[in-house]
């Protein structure tokens, strides 16, 4: 079946709500409006008010209510419009969802899924464009996942829903239009494993989300320069599947990390540090790093584009690493 990313998210959501009797969706404008990205369009009409709940503009209250409902035996799927607004629920995410299992000595698990969009590329300026998933990946107790493909958009939610611990799903706002042809019989998504999206021999590009697409575009043109790039999609930013990229680096001897978050203290910094720690003797060159310019994302199209990693930047960075 041919689907775009949005339709895949909707199909995955619908499937989860129908097949998990304890699951319900709540968030701002998920019902009557159909979701601010139209992901839940039609689901209120089909599944009713109990399964699809419009909430007030109260990020902290409905995320916290999701935590309580999860501890009370339900399987809430909470939608936050974008990661930028999740900051109003940071107390609940950080101080409760991520903490309660450990702080209670293993007594209270929080099987909660929070979905939100992330990312720039649509000229929405600094309060609607940030990529903070790497920041959330700093927090022990959370699982952080980022679907970059249509198949992952379709399948990640179901795996996340079966997780006994809180999972944050970061859907990239600039990927809603990508399409793919999915088989009728879908394989479950393994959230413990990164995916090799393109095999290669000369350099390992470690990325996720929008970075996957810029990296794949670059990998398309690099053979023209005699460079074969392996592209790895992290999929899960916490816990990181370091085995997959360390194994790759052991073969390619070179690595470039590409992300949409900021560079300082980002997830790319973590990956690069791990490669430095654990694969130092495999490396033929220093690990390269590409990230968003350290500015609040601006509105002007040329400035926004300049702030973000483009495929040309990936090509140039690969050249620099390969030397």
């Amino acid at each position: 079946m041919k689907l775009d990313y949005r339709a895949a998210l909707r199909d995955g959501l619908r499937h989860a709500l129908i097949n998990e009797p304890r699951a319900f969706l709540m968030g701002e404008d998920v019902g009557a409006y159909g979701g601010c990205f139209a992901v839940s369009l039609g689901l209120l009409e089909e599944l009713g008010e109990n399964k699809v709940r419009d909430t007030p503009l109260s990020e902290s209250a409905f995320v916290g209510a999701g935590i309580g409902a999860a501890m009370g035996g339900l399987r809430p799927i909470v939608e936050i419009m974008t990661v930028n607004f999740s900051l109003l629920a940071l107390d609940q995410i950080m101080n409760n969802a991520a903490t309660l299992l450990h702080m209670s000595g293993g007594q209270f698990a929080v099987p909660l899924v929070i979905r939100m969009t992330t990312g720039a590329g649509r000229q929405l300026a600094a309060q609607h464009s940030h990529s903070l998933e790497g920041w959330y990946a700093h927090i022990p107790g959370l699982r952080i996942v980022a679907p970059a493909t249509v198949a992952d958009a379709r399948g990640m939610l179901w795996t996340a829903l079966a997780d006994p611990d809180p999972v944050l799903i970061f859907e990239h706002a600039a990927l809603f239009g990508i399409t793919d042809d999915l088989p009728e019989e879908l394989e479950p998504v393994d959230l413990d494993r990164a995916a090799v999206r393109r095999p290669g021999t000369d350099i390992t590009i470690v990325t996720y989300g929008s970075g996957l697409h810029r990296s794949l575009e670059a990998a398309e043109v690099l053979p023209g320069e005699g460079i074969s790039a392996e592209v790895i999609d992290l999929r899960t930013l916490r816990p990181l599947d370091s085995d997959t990229y360390l194994e790759s680096v052991a073969r390619t001897h070179r690595a470039l990390v590409v992300e949409e978050g900021w560079r300082t203290g980002g997830i790319g910094a973590e990956v690069a540090a791990q490669i430095g720690e654990e694969a130092f003797w495999d490396l033929d060159a220093p690990v390269g790093r590409l990230a968003t310019a350290e500015v609040p994302i601006p509105y002007a199209q040329h400035l926004e584009a300049a702030a973000l990693v483009q495929a040309d930047d990936v090509v140039a960075a690969v050249r620099a690493v390969v030397g």
Binding site: N19, R22, G68, A69, Q92, N95, S104, G105, G106, Q107
Partner: protein, 344 residues
Amino acid sequence: MSIDPLEGIDAPEAVALLEMMLRIRRFEEHCVELYSAAKIRGFLHLYVGEEAVAAGIAAHLRPDDAVVATYRDHGHAIAKGVGMRAVMAEMFAKVTGCSRGRGGSMHLFDAATRFYGGNAIVGGGLPVAAGLALAEQWNGTDAVAVCCFGEGAVAEGEWHETMNLASLWNLPVLFACENNLYAMGTALARSEAEVDLVAKANSYGMTAWSVDGMDVAAVRAATGRALTSMRAGGGPVFLELRTYRFRAHSMYDPDRYRDKSEIESWKQRDPITHWRALLEERGILGEGAFDEMDRAVEAEVDDAIAFAEESELEPVSELTRWVYSDGSTAVASASAAPVKGGAL
């Protein structure tokens, strides 16, 4: 016309209310000593003076009701039925503690009695209580969630958000606001433009009453009225429980912001002294009965302390256990089996 404080309370329950308050009081008094002796560390917030609130609310709670409290949580935990041994051992940071020494005084947890903490973020427990209530509503039970918090929390956005959500969705949450007049050192009138808490709650379309929190019978009666309505689907209720803490905010607090005379005048209203006097006057508590009760309570606290002393610390090898579930935690679920086996 004054209502008899013992209305609807039989003799055994009247005694049980006294005993509960006394258990909390003696427990807290020992905590002071143990803190000075450095057996208990970290922050320690005591409930002395406020016992009638937890005891009066708990009188109507069932095992299947959920409670969320704050960092000032010893009294609530004990009243909900968490064992004194487990609470004391938690403060001693022992593995036998109710949070295995990972939480301490401010973070008591107990799945068996549905005690969901011990939350040290002012206002942080409110949305969680709403969610617990949502689960009960969804499951069609008549269990409720009780959230105890101080009046300081009404300034937090989380309070306003949760009051609105709970009222909008008709959730069975009891908002038990313990108004002890000060949030740390800030008197209510110095932080709120509108100090009428009942009016604030009413503005969310919520039923709300103000109750004398020094009178265990009044707290019990108000809670009973609230829970009867809530269990029948009447939606959330807000109670302002007017109370006072006899001790400083925490062991770090030099208590510079209130007059000694004010503290003394509230001590005249000690909930335990008053309830005891009433029961003695009515002949419910005979000659020497209080002292006997007190000895038994002291023995219980002593036993808890001895248990905590003797208990082991958690091995450091367990440090990172339960950052994520390892299969040992029962994930709350009544019927989570997917309908169609989970094929994608």
